[in-house]
Symmetry: C2
Subunit: 339 residues, 2 copies
């Protein structure tokens, strides 16, 4: 099943079922109006949405309409939790190596994970607005899960059972703001602005055998201004699977329905596959040439992130965002989204 | 106006207005059923609740009932954001000094702030359940605000205008898990389990002149097993006011209605006032005696946190929680709270 949330001027948008080929959609009205409502009561509501999904895919849904990713908010426009890991050791090793820093001893034993802001997610085609291009604007292509309830102390395999939906993420990062926040020990805050999500969230069964061992085994394609940054296999290099990441998060507290847990930047040891963020490209340049030549993103740049399924079809739809300066956006003005 | 959320078996509970003296309450049914709904549409809904509050205080509300803090969830039972600062330099200085660590150069220039988990808050009288008493269980008495929308880049004074409600917080901390998470640079995660809140959230006008300069000027009283840990003046030692904390959080992203921002452990240079967490008491012992003699909390200990107003009345109601071992609670079982 594929789900999206369409903009309707409210903070939570309208939940819709989207056809497998991403061409048509149907509002979930009568079953659930908001994505969080579905997650709060998954076992009761999801079978009804699955029925609608089947009807929609057969072309028999009564009020289907053309699906437009530009009308999408994030599949879950605001969440009660967004915890993002760094589960690809090749990403961590490259970035630290380039910096001349030591790789932490526990890298393969204990997941790195930070708590992110989840009150103001961006839709797949929303502009990414920043006040200062000197902040080191970077993208990060990641995968994420939305969970059901996970009780404190749940083991990794049991936690994996709580995965409800998979998503594709652009975890915007401001690299120039990272060092001070890491040094403080309090972790990322200003260096992690609003996160963006691909148009549809999908149930794991949509991936068939590409969802196995708690990992997505597909290629994450990342482009900047139409130029390939990477086409990176997302399964092989993911050291901790999503059940392990969830169990880590749930070690000392309950994780509640609708929590989002991210994989961290998708990465693979094979350099020919490219990378999923500019920081890692710059790290490879430094390791190889002694200096980084790639620049951070500039205002006007366009980022595109997509994942192709086994038959080449787009699984989550594409994230396609333009980087914009805050002045041009009327910096300081909140968009009126009041429900 | 004073507001609470009463347990009704759902994830969000039922919003209620509570009388100034905390003796009676009235459901907000017909105006708003959930606290987030109020925050999403504050300007339209809050005047209606204020009217109900006035009627309730006059003893003329039609369906008033006795207010029972034990029936309360957190005033906002789950939130889209919980960002907690460390705005009291005396707390930071003492803890770092005892550890032999250097006080960061920017302590008075840039707020320390971490992103917390906000999907599973505890009510004021809910047990605090932990799997292992060796984790260094500690309380932290803090104040917090719930905000309206704050646009990216908003200045401190303007951000202060977005403060909707004030709350009293117990920011449970697991001290033994802190060092590894601070060293990773990714910040607190497992070391910050579910946070608890006093029964009622109050509008700033409830505090009269005790709310000034973006700070609460009252005494935060903290007890462990009935013994005084501190009675600490909350205004004088708070270096950054809530508008500055909010502006820090909103520097690179929009902050949306219903975000909670905390002050960090309330602290004052005057040692006679005591402290608001055991870590700080242990730090003072180390500085004075060369070793810490106070122990962390044990299963069965009871923590009580309260704030008295100018006339001695309880402003937020009391947080009164028992520390419990996970085994005794049926560790691993999520309470059925599905809506």
């Amino acid at each position: 099943m594929k789900l999206a949330t369409l903009k309707d001027g409210s903070r939570d948008g309208q939940l819709a079922v989207v056809s497998r080929d991403l061409t048509s959609a149907h509002f979930a009205t009568g079953i659930a109006t908001r994505a969080q409502q579905l997650l709060d009561d998954w076992n009761f509501l999801s079978p009804q949405l699955e029925d609608l999904y089947t009807t929609l895919n057969m072309g028999k849904a009564r009020h289907a309409f053309a699906f437009d990713p530009r009308a999408c908010m994030a599949p879950l426009p605001r969440a009660y939790q967004w915890a993002d890991a760094s589960a690809y050791p090749s990403h961590v090793r490259r970035v630290l190596h380039a910096r001349g820093a030591e790789v932490p001893a526990g890298l393969l034993q204990v997941p790195l994970m930070y708590q992110g802001g989840s009150d103001d997610f961006l839709g797949p085609c929303d502009d990414a607005v920043f006040a200062d291009s000197a902040w080191g604007i970077d993208l990060e292509s990641e995968l994420a899960v939305i969970t059901g309830d996970v009780a404190m102390g749940t083991a990794p395999d049991a936690a994996l059972e709580a995965v409800r939906l998979l998503m594709l993420v652009n975890d915007w990062s401001l690299r120039a703001l990272v060092p001070a926040e890491v040094a403080s020990g309090f972790g990322f805050l200003q260096s992690k602005p609003a996160t963006a999500f691909a148009p549809v969230a999908v149930t794991p069964d949509e991936l068939g055998p590409a969802w196995r061992g708690g990992r997505v085994h597909l290629k994450v394609s990342t482009q900047v201004n139409g130029e390939r940054l990477g086409e990176v296999e997302s399964g092989a290099g993911m050291h901790f699977h999503f059940g392990q990441l969830l169990a880590h998060l749930a070690r000392t507290r309950n994780v509640r329905a609708g929590a989002i847990v991210g994989s961290g930047t998708v990465s693979h040891d094979d350099e020919a596959q490219g990378v999923s963020c500019l920081a890692e490209r710059r790290a490879l340049e430094m390791i190889r040439d002694g200096q980084a030549t790639s620049e951070w993103l500039r205002f006007g740049d366009v980022v595109r992130i997509e994942v192709a399924g086994a038959e080449g079809q787009s699984v989550f739809g594409a994230i396609e965002q333009r980087v914009r300066g805050a002045q041009a956006e009327g910096f300081g003005a909140v968009q009126a989204k009041a429900a």
